[in-house]
Amino acid sequence: MKNAQTTTTQKSLLVQGFEVVIGFETHAQLSTQSKIFSRAPTAFGAEPNTQACPVDLALPGSLPVMNVGAVERAIRLGLALGSHIAERSVFARKNYFYPDLPKGYQISQFEIPVVQGGEVSFFLGDEKKTVRLVRAHLEEDAGKSLHEDSTLGGGGMSGIDLNRAGTPLLEIVTEPDMRSSAEAVAYAKELHKIVTWIGICDGNMQEGSFRCDANVSVRRPGEPLGTRREIKNLNSFKFMQQAIDFEVRWQIEQLEDGKAIEQATVLFNPDTGETRAMRTKEDAADYRYFPDPDLPPLVIGRDWVEQVRGEMPELPRVMAERFQTQYALSEYDATALTSSVAFAGYFETATKACGQPKLVSNWLAGEVSRRLNQDEASIEACPVSHTQLALLVSRIADGTLSNNAAKQVFDVLWTDGGDIDAIIEAKGLKQMNDSGALTKIVADVIAANPKNVDEFKAGNAKALNALVGQIMKTSGGKANPAQVNALLKNALA
């Protein structure tokens, strides 16, 4: 929070004369096979209380043992975000009573977290934004309380499912650097992309693998930070934006009515689109943090960090820059192509096969994305393989297919699959590249349309389009438009 004032010099979007200030706390569930302090599996969706061992159940005599995989993932995040990775960090106990917290305390990191500082950069429209991180710390998740609407709960009873208890989390905390809900969502999307890109989190928001809490406050420009309210557990980008927008309007209304904002934790109700206070600062618990005597300090040597660095994939920002130089793509295209590891991988493999980066990029941004969006599928599930797309693009590049014809082939590939050349043959989509036949059609069309020819020669460029249209029609749509243009201009020159 120390430098919050200095960042407000950026041009701010004011809402009814108020500046919006947002900070994020994100819980990313780490993709380890077993839990952070036990060997129980982390599988989602299993029968209640089947994925919990004595440590997760907090049975007397059980003790936590650090899962090295969770630490390795924290190092990965630190490296991806340019953070300091603490050589020595400390696990602490956060003490509070709740039925789904088996030990009566959560093992977390308090005074000395494993990942310190760093930043996340992204584009909001054309503007590059950078959000500074305070820290990211390792901690264990709690279990779940199942109330009336569940199989375990009901009849005035609540059920407790401890399958999730002990699942490893990284809590990633930002400075209050964001100034709009759109910026907040863009940050969350970028962070989501990074954690999935470096393989530390599956990013499944429905299953709670990536949960965001937004700290929202408003102030008149130049004033000190306002009192914040924390919106908990935003588990979709859509709700995130709605919740923040509602919260901002609500806070501004309060202030304009002369009321003070009280620090509070609020929940967003997607059905009503409103936020509602859960608890205020007065009933905030004293967590009585102290270093966990069951766990020695976490020591991460330089050689471990270097080993992890060596295993890191190329990061999206670096890859996008490489795409711009290596494939002569625009920053926009390069950024779009690096939206996920799989997408970027698809692009590079197809490009290497056909040598047509721009065409592949256009097809991915166009037809491929359109069809994927229609089917709500990701690139991994694309029925047209990168090999097929590369061949299709090659057929455009070598003049066999017009763009329109290629789209027809693509549709067949998408729905039925098959061999590209066979589809071209069967559908008669091959372009007419025989200049002899085309020259004759061009001459015939010129002869049959003297009026258009005169108009063109008089300076009406549109008249040429009419001639091209006639030639295309005569050729049954198979003429190569570029060739037609060249022949026409030549004949009329």
Binding site: L59, L63, V65, R93, P102, D286, R288, Y289, P293, P296
Partner: protein, 502 residues
Amino acid sequence: MQDLHLLTVAQTADLLQAKKVSSLELAEHYLARVNKHEGLGAFLACKPETTALAAKAADAKIAAASSSNLAPRLTGVPIAHKDIFVTKDFVTTAGSKMLQGYRSPFDATVVTKLADAGMVTLGKLNCDEFAMGSANENSFYGKVQNPWDTSRVPGGSSGGSAAAVAAGLAPAATGTDTGGSIRQPASFCGITGIKPTYGRASRYGMVAYASSLDQAGPMARTAEDCALLLSAMCGADLDRDSTSLDLPPEDFSRGLNDSISSLRKLQGLRVGIPKEFFADGLASDVRTAIDTALAELEKLGAKLVPISLPRTELAIPVYYIIAPAEAASNLSRFDGVKFGHRAADYKDLSDMYKKTRTEGFGEEVRRRIMIGNYVLSHGYYDAYYLQAQRIRRMIADDFQQAFKNCDVIAGPVAPSVAWKLGDKDRKPLDDYLADIYTLPASLAGLPGMSIPVGFGEGNMPVGMQLIGNYLQEGRLLNAAHQYQLATDWHTKLSPLMTGGAA
């Protein structure tokens, strides 16, 4: 053989290996004595069939052994476990109503290791609730009597363990020591006990009291027995206990007779005598016994070196901040939700917690939970907990200073002999103050032991404490063993040991 219970662990093991006695005979003999002395209050749980099965298995192992393929030395020797160690075969209560009838799905590592060494479990032993106490008067399952004088306390918190060994109800027992809970009851009951360096024995399966202090150790009649037992109990357990030391197993029996002189067995040993351990507050009867023992060490060739542990008195407030802080957190899991006691009637969740914990925990446990939560709470943490941690480090540093001039440190275990049961004049604070000589080594994580060195007021045993530097258990046991070879205090038998045939 009616006097089987007079044998040490080493003697018992020799008879077993020589097939002169069977493990089953031993188990039956001891279990009969447990029944006979039920009034002592030492045992909480026995399962004769389970014990008999283990004994028969041990006998089969010995029968199958050959001179080239011996059964492990401790095979068939009976032992009983402090009820702080969780066990699959026996209910584990930790002396608390909170865990009445609790069955653990796993065994503590120490229990597993001793079973793997061939030992046969007789049952579970009474202790102060969650190991909090110095007299074993805090158990929900009743007080334990001292076998030397049944109107007196056996010490605590491993009071059941000490009483069982001193009364001949088991040749050996496990104990746990957080602030003196092995050494002080060993002293009060005239037996030998050792707490190893913090991290030597796995804490996995010990119901946690204060995690940074808890250590398991053996309690038996001799240093030789303790060496045998400690060798079997210790060892790295890195997959289950993150505070376990990464050290290979060690045979502590091997160095028992090491000496540079064949006549003066402790020739050259520098024994540090901390002046703070002999200041006001040490009862004269205890002092006399300790002085005599120190003179005996000198006769064996040891050199007494005056040293200072200047923060000895501070160990009391430091311990009674850190241990309750950790305990308050460790005991939060006993909330009535998953296992253990739950109140019968409650209005809501908060009421359920309050009633469950008020009913399930005894007075001393509740007191320490309150102290612990107080010292950790916002605004007090720095002044209490952090300050206590700083002084704890200084106490450890003081020992390192002292060990520059000595090899082991010797002094009393407790300021007095065992006091009377149910003494209404004693306040909790009196018990806290009586821990003064055992707390410093606990806070520093050093190994410490108690050996019988005489008798004081009321003919009650007096124990001498030996403290070693980190991982110097071998040196402690060597000094204790040589002392025991030269003296016979450890062979003195309590009236319950000798009184009548079992």
